[in-house]
Symmetry: D2
Subunit: 409 residues, 4 copies
């Protein structure tokens, strides 16, 4: 059997901001035998996951599930509502915003990339007032869509999507609002309907705690309407047939059955009222993030996202002092402590690393990760102001989780 | 945990032509924890699966693995080498050829659909001489690609791809040869390099014995060259970055890690010399097909594919007598005997059903399936000339499998 | 990973009378992480399995679960209620009755082995009147226990335990009634309380559909009382501490946690009202047995158990014609058709083989097994009167299962 | 499916001294389908595990594998070599030594319990000189066996077995040497042959990293000889038939097949030369123990085992200050931090808790456990001299593991 085993002993600590650790319950559910995607059992599964994922997106509108990883869902969002040469306003929060912008350009759209100068935009969330100003200036309504990233995975900044919605409304602009919440969904609060988002893009390997391989477009009525006249070529990504067939719990082409088993299990876990449901999920992530940030502060290191209200509940970017190569630190930590951390990407390559604190975590997995970081930083010669591990213990001990650990079966 | 359990007892018999039954070894391999797709362990996994899948395609050229199901790989093949309005010659072997043609049309290509009239083309393989004639007539070389289906899953006809290659060569035509071997690969002999195919499209849930969710484009130098100037918008499907990053065992965006575990295991199984390697795989499928066809003949029923040399080693279409609704028969068999059979699709809807005999099968799984069919046909009032089950037992008993069952560990 | 893979392709057919095929649901449940057997989660699990297994035994009295395979539970039953030199009356139904008798002798008991002469007793169930006669003759009540096998796994005879109870009562004899229902429980009707059994011995790897490794003693008040004064040395097997600690869901020593996960799942499956509950389980086994016997009769071969009312719902012994070595037939079937059948044991070694039709079976797994047998018998040169496969198809098609296959999720 | 889920999120930390965390590789191996324990595939498996487990015991003599948990193997060791009323000299190292002594008494042996007075013996290893003195006094050789515990799981003291062997030899006494290495094997160095042990008892759920359910007796020629004349009743535990049948890879009764799959995988992992083989295993445990002890010392708390050379590589007992209820601390830690610790047993109930550092651990799982302890101790009002977590980080960072983490696949 497949065992590319690099780990002499113990469980690897996967504290990157996705793929996040997959719970045993989900791995077991995913390993049940594949069934006929045209049989009656599948129809029941299909309805179940569609109902569950809608609750996670906090939407009553259709959610399209693609048998493709998250990058595909970015393309799907654009391909369904855009026509060649369309003008889209995108906001640069970091590396993933940049990748989405490159994709839009490659697909033949005219992209305008808004943001703060230099790396400054990579240390904050979306500045909604810049969007409002730009849209007001677009008196001819040339801009067809506004694209923002909810939780910028490369920096650890979570943007205020409702503020973006209000900015568009304030500008009285008809542009569609497209949001990437690939790493935000099911970790950070997200309200597709209430926030008036037209397309939300997400993926499986973050807060949903699944392996990569399925992804999502949550839709609005306006988005569906736009898709009827949009001219970018689309077939695999086309919403129309999928939304229609989903009514009976099926898909027009072969879905990713075993990941749907996992998704059903994930929804059961996330929505379980014994553990506080979705609000419990969000509260857990906020608390973990506080604990991790208290460690970074105690080390005397900078957090990548400087805007307090935008610091992500999902991950924290840790900036290295001048002269320290963040990737060398990560490598040492991986090799010595069997801990995977996220690399710095794009403009901050080598300048920072990222600690994921999402999904199937708890206080002690984070204490393990912080211990690995602290040992690794010291071994790398980074001068620390104090013990982040001690600070995080103070925080976690001092702030009990809102939902009690133990629950009746 | 997820248990949509429709089965009071015993294992379901999944004898559709894909998804095929997934072996326990693969399900277990797939359920190992997800790892960092940017870490060193992943690079080793990536190189291993790329090396293995090349052997399965019998190619030394790049094979692109998409974290998307098979329909996506159809789109990928077209999106990489075609430009809007390009003329493609496609051949109608059945429903899946038709779906691919519809996709090509939807993507903005000018499709020409060659084939025999009525349902006649759905009962045979590709008639290579028709392609040769058509290409010879295309003196201006307007046709940019020839698209054929290797194993037409809707009918059970396996076409001679080498004959198509020779037809193109005989016409001295520069069109690219694009082949769908989604349901042929790893069951029916397939030689990407030797047969001079430019792009072979395949998927995971057939001969590779995996759940659906990953798919493939095997490339040629000419295809890669064409992709550099082709103008259909492409990003997720674009070969360039993938082929480049694959050299180190990685992908430009998040791959479907757990299905790659499964793929590594599948390659180990398919290429295992103790079980005869790939040639053993093909010999097993040929033998199973013979056994199943001997049953259909004994029942006095027609086989959908009438061209003997094209009858598929992967599945057999069983045509119902006039007045019998094949789907009613299938439903009865499913409900009474927990056996899934393939439905008739498109032009032959309700006229036939399909028995899959691919992947993780053996003589007795097929005897079980044939028993279920025979009981179901009788219960549905279909008059049978004789016992197909008896005929299949005669065949299997009389023709030992070429590779002995038992092997040293 | 462990892969002693002797199977080039497809799923092995394990049609021995135990271990029976383990359902995927159970294998997945068993693979969840081991927990602290002294923690609160375990207590909830313990109570759940003890409650479930009581329902399966149809008892309200304690059931002791041993972290040991079934042979251990035989020893436990004797060690708890017997003293050295005690006289026990055992009944020879076949090989397993003989093994239990040997064990009792080895443990220092005075065993008396009742039965019909020669192999005659191996072709019938317990003759309760012989027990009654013997007990009546034992006016001094020297006999301390009567030991019978409910379902003799070596022959396929299911005895009438209620008749044995009545025989003891009719003789007004105080002997305890000890019953081995290792291969009967959860397949053949069994009522521990209603039938007045003092100790029922059972194991996991038969009707409970688990791997081997845990076993059971269901108790009565009289058995518990007897255990307080019995003098055979006992510690691991001693009921007293286990019964006491079980009240809180725990065990005095380390239990077999992962098999208990499987047991919880097995109880859920067996007791599931959607599938007819326990009565549905028994009805399924009776029907399978009828189908298999119809095949044996059509072959013109003898069934090992000649007493119609005792023919087992769990397995069927198939007697070979003179001169045919049953084990050679089995070996050929294993090697050619990847089907495991039970060997003839003890007095019938080489004279018969056994087909298991228990646990996680359905019509088609049995059709597969019968096809393998029919092909193997023919290849071995056994002259068959007709097709057993055809007869079984007639039976199964003609007698729908009492519980519909398909159920709402 | 079975989900008694008490854990809202993240992986539970099972840091008790057994059952130890079961690696994913082993859980997956154990979930493969159960096979016929009389078929050829099983014979290959049987030989493989017997060969592997012999290497782990460092013996060339037979190792008996029981389908029963560890307590059974204690009984087996006694039942095979003892006769009713035999005199055995046992040594009190702690709770498990006491339980074994109670078992021996219950089985009808005359036990003599040697040891230091009060709890003093519970804080040290076996004092071999006391055994030597006692045996010298036994000039009539009434004592038939000396029973000691290698690694006392209740206290964390690892005794010098070679010293005990030498003590017996120095006394020129013929008593057999029986050793319980249930929690020592595969974690602490153990040499069955070289140390001249007659019977070593072990179990699966400790250093072997398996769930509970199988257990072991490693034998010597003298033990086998003794078993031929020993008079305690034995059948299930009897070595004779097992040792004989094991020669062909089989067992006289149904073995615990799925745990044997796990055992094969465990042996592969423990003996893997890429990770340093058995010596690598021992070195890892010694290092972990040092790290944990450095934490306890920094807290200013006492270690249960005061004899430095006997401090266990497997677990560490942490003594609470006067007035602190260790179980209340454990409960708080479990409920707040999802970490299971071992309770104080017997004489030290409520006075200490135990941290397991065995099997599938690594530096960060131990840092997680120590963080949970430190937070829990503080929350319980225990005054700590300093941060044990900081001390352990210093130790682990300062002492790289002898085998590099990363290995080629």
């Amino acid at each position: 059997m497949v065992t590319l085993d690099f780990h002499p002993t113990g469980r690897h600590f996967l504290q990157i901001p996705g793929p996040s650790p997959v719970p045993d319950r989900i791995l077991r559910a995913m390993s049940l035998p594949t069934i006929d995607h045209r049989g009656p059992e599948f129809g029941a599964l299909g309805k179940r996951v569609l109902q569950g994922i809608g609750q996670v997106f906090q939407t009553k509108q259709p959610v399209v599930i693609y048998p493709a990883s998250g990058t595909g869902a970015w393309e799907a969002a654009l391909a369904n509502v855009m026509s060649p040469g369309d003008h889209v306003l995108m906001y640069e929060t970091g590396h993933f915003a940049t990748l989405w912008q490159k994709m839009a350009t490659r697909l033949g759209l005219k992209t305008e990339f808004l943001g703060l100068p230099g790396v400054e935009g990579w240390r904050r969330g979306v500045q909604a007032h810049l969007i409002e100003e730009r849209l007001k200036a677009d008196v001819g309504h040339a801009i067809k869509a506004v694209c923002v990233v909810h939780n910028e995975t490369s920096t650890g900044a979570t943007s205020n999507i409702l503020a973006v919605r209000r900015a568009i409304d304030a500008a009285k602009h008809p542009a569609l609002l497209l949001v990437d919440s690939i790493s935000g969904l099911a970790s950070a609060e997200y309200k597709h309907d209430e926030w008036g988002v037209d397309v939300t893009v997400s993926g499986s390997q973050k807060g949903l705690m699944l392996p990569p391989g399925i992804s999502f477009n949550a839709l609005s009525a306006r988005a569906l309407e736009a898709s009827r006249s949009a001219k970018l070529p689309k077939s695999f990504w086309a919403w129309d047939e999928i939304v229609e067939m989903n009514k009976s719990g099926y898909w027009p082409y072969t879905p990713n059955t075993n990941l749907l088993y996992g998704l059903a299990e994930a929804c059961d876990m996330l929505l379980d009222p014994h553990f506080g449901g979705l609000q419990g999920v969000f509260a857990r992530h906020r608390r973990w993030a506080e604990g991790v940030r208290s460690a970074v502060k105690a080390w005397g290191l900078e957090i990548q996202c400087t805007e307090t209200q935008s610091q992500s509940p999902v991950l924290t970017g840790v900036v290295m002092p001048e002269g320290v190569d963040a990737d060398a630190v990560r490598k040492l930590i991986y090799e010595r402590f069997d801990l995977s951390l996220g690399t710095g990407l794009g403009k901050v390559k080598g300048r920072m690393f990222r600690i994921g604190h999402l999904g199937d975590c708890n206080d002690l997995t984070l204490m393990a990760a912080l211990s690995g970081c602290e040992m690794g930083l010291k071994l790398s010669g980074v001068k620390l102001a104090g013990s982040g591990v001690a600070a995080a213990m103070d925080y976690f001990a001092g702030h009990p989780a809102p939902v009690a650990l133990q629950q009746a079966a």
